[in-house]
Subunit: 193 residues, 3 copies
């Protein structure tokens, strides 16, 4: 399915040279200079990728998602529409100042807490991902969940704050237990017709 | 109040020919080819309407809302800012593949679960609407609610997951019980001054 | 740190003449005519500022936030990505009409309920702020919280609906009690290196 060309919509703003073949960047999306986006990705309308963000291959980013510095998205991940990432534990306006006192480090390395979405995971629509987390392979974060702790592989989490609510198959459907083999899908979704 | 012209902001992208008279499409909004939008609608900044979506007459879509394929919005509906629709029960990146196994149907008819917002309903700001639902006439989904079940007519639902929390009038104000006649508003909102 | 120039990204739409020096307005943002934005602000991609909104100095508005009429943002405030404001208690589509009955006042002064974010407060990512509220100085609204009541100064609120969950320092870190002096930061964040 790989296409060797990159498609950048005429109304997108792509300032990065690091976009893999077959990737499509849609209208009103903004990919900053330096951002790394793999091959065969889909970057939806009104999305944003900051200059130090890293996105793997075959990743789907739906509309209106901002991928900040410190966020790493591995291969095959789905990011639902309106999902929100956070890379700062104690957000204050960087320019806030009282007298001679400054309340936030200007050096990004002093405050940035990255989050990693591991291979094949799905982040539900409008989910909120806290700073400094790891979402395991093929895990699913339910729509609207607010995630404050890391999520193990193949786990489903739901709610505010998000709590573990079951296991999920590689294909995204429910499972009774952690699958022994991520490649195997008992739901028979083994073809595309 | 009908205006026979369609207003498309110079910075909007409207690729559809099916826009009713009096409808206004604002900056950085994107309406795809084939999308049907009725008359006297207001489609806010940074919104998106996919090619098979259907929107009725006198509908207000506030900023940053994506209306996907499978979503039907009837007449007189209000969609608050940042509300999020979902049309897929088991989201995985469509291009994800492991060896020769594919985990998601490429044929949209195999996975799409539509949601319908019935006449006069209001969807609160940042509410999340699951797939395969029906939101009844004049129902109100509270701001930030995550809706996982269909909502009867004139019902108010709140919370995560959303639960029934009262009845609402045609004008949007609380009522003690389901009104016998949707046209009648006991709050006296029968004119515009 | 003040820069005397205003930076407006070539792909932003700024129709206001009331932008203070040093403020930066980023790609696909839209600031309407009449909107007041102070100095040294940062208005992120895909954000929106309506014509009667007021934003103070050194305010950070992250991506995808709409600041409506009736919303006032004081100095030094941080608004996280995807945060959503509401200025209407009973939202219905303004153009909805049944027979000769109208269910919403066209006169904004009859329905608008403003919200004020006081100096130095932080609104977390994807938080939802109801109409008619006041968020106190240096208060913090947690990510994904849905705020339905006003929040006192230096208070942390979390959840849906948002509840009080502790005190926060001027620098954003937790405190055991309300600080006697907002200017003092016991975490020692008194400089910028």
């Amino acid at each position: 399915m790989t296409d060797t060309k990159v498609f950048i919509h005429p109304l997108a703003l792509c300032e990065s040279d690091n976009i893999g073949p077959g990737t499509r960047i849609w209208a009103f999306a903004h990919v900053m200079k330096g951002a790394r986006v793999g091959s065969d990705c889909n970057i939806g309308d009104h999305s944003f990728v900051e200059s130090d963000a890293v996105i793997g291959n075959r990743v789907t980013v739906k509309n209106g998602v901002s991928i900040w510095n410190g966020i790493t998205i591995e291969d095959d991940v789905f990011i639902g529409p309106g999902a929100v990432f956070i890379n700062d534990r104690y957000p204050r306006s960087p320019r806030m100042a009282a007298a001679t006192v400054t309340y936030r480090y200007s050096d990004e390395s002093r405050w940035l807490a990255g989050t990693r979405i591991e291979r094949g995971a799905s982040i539900g629509a409008a989910a909120v991902l806290g700073p400094g987390l790891r979402i395991g392979t093929f895990a699913v974060v339910g729509a609207g969940a607010v995630v404050t702790k890391s999520v193990p592989a193949h786990r489903l989490v739901l709610g505010v704050p998000a709590r573990e609510a079951g296991w999920v198959c590689t294909c995204g459907r429910p499972l009774a237990t952690l699958p022994a083999n991520s490649q195997h899908c008992p739901h028979g979704l083994s073809g595309d017709e």
